[in-house]
Amino acid sequence: MYKIIEKQKLSETITKLVIESPRVAKKRKAGNFVMIRVKEGGERIPITIADSDIEKGTVSIIVQAIGKTTKMLCSLKEGEYVLDFVGPLGEPTPIENFGRVVCIGGGVGTAEVYPIAKALRDAGNEVIGIIGARSKDLIILEKEMGEVCNKLYITTDDGSYQGKGFVSDQLQDLINSGMKIDGVYAIGPIPMMKVCANVTRPFGIKTYVSLNPIMVDGTGMCGGCRVTVGGKMKFACVDGPEFDAHEVDFDELIMRNRTYADLETISDKTYEEHVCKLEGVK
C-alpha cells in the first residue's frame, strides 16, 4: 500500500498526486515510469514520474483521467492508498549536453517532458520549451516549465491562451526562423509526436519521443507493449519508452492502441454508473 501524501487538481481532468515510495523516489531518473494498480482487481497502468523528493521519500505523478483506472486514481483523496506502485521502470532518458534542445509537451505529455527538460538544463543545455493543449485550462506545469526553460512557448489549439495552433507549428516556426536546434524531445498524443517527427526529419535534427503502448506488466514479460522502431520489434517498457522519432512506426502504434477500445468503454461506463449511484446516495 502506497500512501497519497498530497493531491492537487491541475485542470478539470488532470490531477497531480504525490505518493509515498522512498525507494522509487531515490532511484528514479528522467524518463522513468511506474506501474500502478489502484485496487484489487484493477488494471496495471503505466504513469511517468514527473518529479520526486528524496528527503520526503515521495514521487509525483500527473494523471489525466481518460478511462476507468485513471478516473479511480484521480478520485483518491489525500491519506488514501494505491495498492501497488512499482518502479522506476524503463530506460532513463539519455541526458547529454547537446547544446540547444527543444522540449515539447502536448497535453499531459508536459508532465513527462518536464523532468527531462529539468535534467537537460542541469546537464548544461540551453532548453527551449514548447507546451500546448486544446485550450487554456488544459495547460499544465506552465510555472515549472518556465523555471527550467531558457524560453517557453505556449500554444493552444483554440487560441484561448498565447499562440493559436499546435506545438508542432511552433517548432516549425523556430526552425524556419533559422534557430539552430541540436535535439528535440517531443512527448504527447501519438499524432502530435508523429507530426513533430515529420517537422524535424528534413533537417536531420535528432528527435526523441516517448511511446505509450498498452502495457500489462511493464517489466518485459508480456510483449504487449511491442512497437516497431527502425523496422525492428522493441518492447517499450524495457527498451524504451523513448525512441528515435524518425524510426518509429506511429501508425502501427495508433492502431494497436485501439485493440481494447470497445471493452475499455464498457469498463468506463460501468464505473461511471457506479459512481453516479454512490453520489446519488449522498
Binding site: G41, D84, V86, V216, T219, C222, M233
Partner: protein, 480 residues
Amino acid sequence: MPNTLKPSERMKIPRQHSIEQPSTERTKNFNEVSFGLNEELALLEAKRCLDCKNPVCIDGCPVRIDIPGFIIKILEKDYAGAADKIREANYLPAICGRVCPQEDQCEIVCILGKKHEPVAIGKLERFVADYEMANNLFKSPVVNNHIDKKVAIVGSGPAGLTCAAELVKLGYKVTIFEALHATGGVLRYGIPEFRLPKEILDIEVNRVRELGAEILTNFVVGRTATLDELIDEMGYEAVFLGTGAGTPNFMEIPGEHLSGVLSANEFLTRVNFMKAYAFPEADTPIKIGKQIAVIGGGNTAMDAVRTAKRLGAEQAYLIYRRSRKEMPARVEEVMHAEEEGIEFMMLTNPLRIIGDEFNWVKAIECQKMELGEPDDSGRRKPIPIKGSEYIIEVQNVIEAIGQKPNPIIQATTPGLGISKRGTVVVDNKTMVTSRPNVFAGGDLIHGGATVILAMHDGKLAAASMHEYLQNVDKEEKVTK
C-alpha cells in the same frame, strides 16, 4: 499397514487413474480438470510399488524425493508423514504433484514400467499433499538455528521459493524480491487455474513465508535497487537470481503487429494474473474470437489453447511444425487438450498473419511440413512442402514459441557472465555465477525448462551459498 502382497500380486493391480471433470463440462469453467486420486484409489495405487532395493525412481527425480519411502507411509495411512517425507526433498509437493512431467522423470524409469504401467508417482505425491491440506495436518518445521546473515533471493518462482526455503531452514535471514505484485512467477501468471489453482499455490507460498522468508513484492531488482545496491547498501551477503525466462519470442513473420496477435505470456497474464476472464468485474480486458490459433507445442501452448477454448473460442487450433511425438508438452496436458476438442494441426508452420480493415487479425496462412533428418536438438527437422500453403480464418493468433531471460538484471549488473542466448552462466555444480557471492538457477540459466529443474537449482544453490558464507567467515578470521 505394510504391503503384504507378493510382487506378482502387486503387478496385477492396474494403474489407477485420477477422477476428472468431464471434458464437456470443463471447457465451460476454469475449475481444476483433475481431482486426483481419492484415498481408496491412492491406497490401491501405492500397493503397486515394489519398494525396490535399488529404487531407480529416485534417480529419475531431479530433487531426489525418497519415493518408495513416502509411498510406504501412504500404505501406513500416515499421510502427514508421507508429506513430510516428500518435503525433505521438495517443499512444493502440491504444485509438483500437479505440474511435473513425471512421465519423463521418475515414472519413466520405474521398474514396474518395464512390463506394466509405472507407478503413478505424481498422482500419489499430489494425493498426499492435498490430503494434508484438506485435513489441516501441516506443521511448519521449527527453525532453531539462527545465522546472523542476510541473503537476497530475486524472483519468487519455484527456483527462488525453493532456494529461500532451504536457506531459512539453515538459519539465514532471507528476503525474496519480486517484481510483480504477487508471488509465484510462472506458477501464478502462466499456468492456469484449471491445472494449478491459485489457492493451492497460495498455501504453498505461504508455507515458505511461515517458515520465515520475507517476501517483498513490487520490487524490480535492477531498477528499484540494483543487485550491487542489495549487496553494498542493503547488506545482503549473497544473492540468488531466480528471475526466470520471462521475455517472449515472436516468430517475426508479417502481420504480428495486428490487434489480436498476442504472446502466450500476455494472453495468460491477462487471464490468470489479471483475471480478465472476470471482465468487467476485473478491469483488465481480453478479446477472444470464435476461431483462434495458438502456435507452439509446449506446455505454454497447451495452456494458451485450452484457456482460449474456455473463454469461448469455438474452434481452437494448435499449430505445431513438427509431429505430435515431438511436442514437448506434458502428455497429460496433450491428452486433456484433445479431449476438450482442441484441433491439432501438426507439421504445420505459419507464414503470415492477415488483417482486416480495422487492423484486426482475420486469417493466418500456413504451410505443411515434413520431417527430415535429426537436427542439433536430436529431433527431426521440419522441412516445408512447396505449394502446400493454405489459409485459415482466425481472429486471434497466440504465439507460444519459447522465451528468453528478462534482461533487466543482466543489463544493470556489471561483471555478470551472460551467454549469447542471454542466460546467466553458472558453474553447474555450485550454481555460482561469475561473481562469487551471486548464484543463479531456474529458467534464467536454462532459458525455459521445468518447475522441478528450477527447484533443483534452487536447492543446489542454497547449499553452495551456505558453504560460501561459512568460508567467508573463515577467511575473515584468518585475515583478522
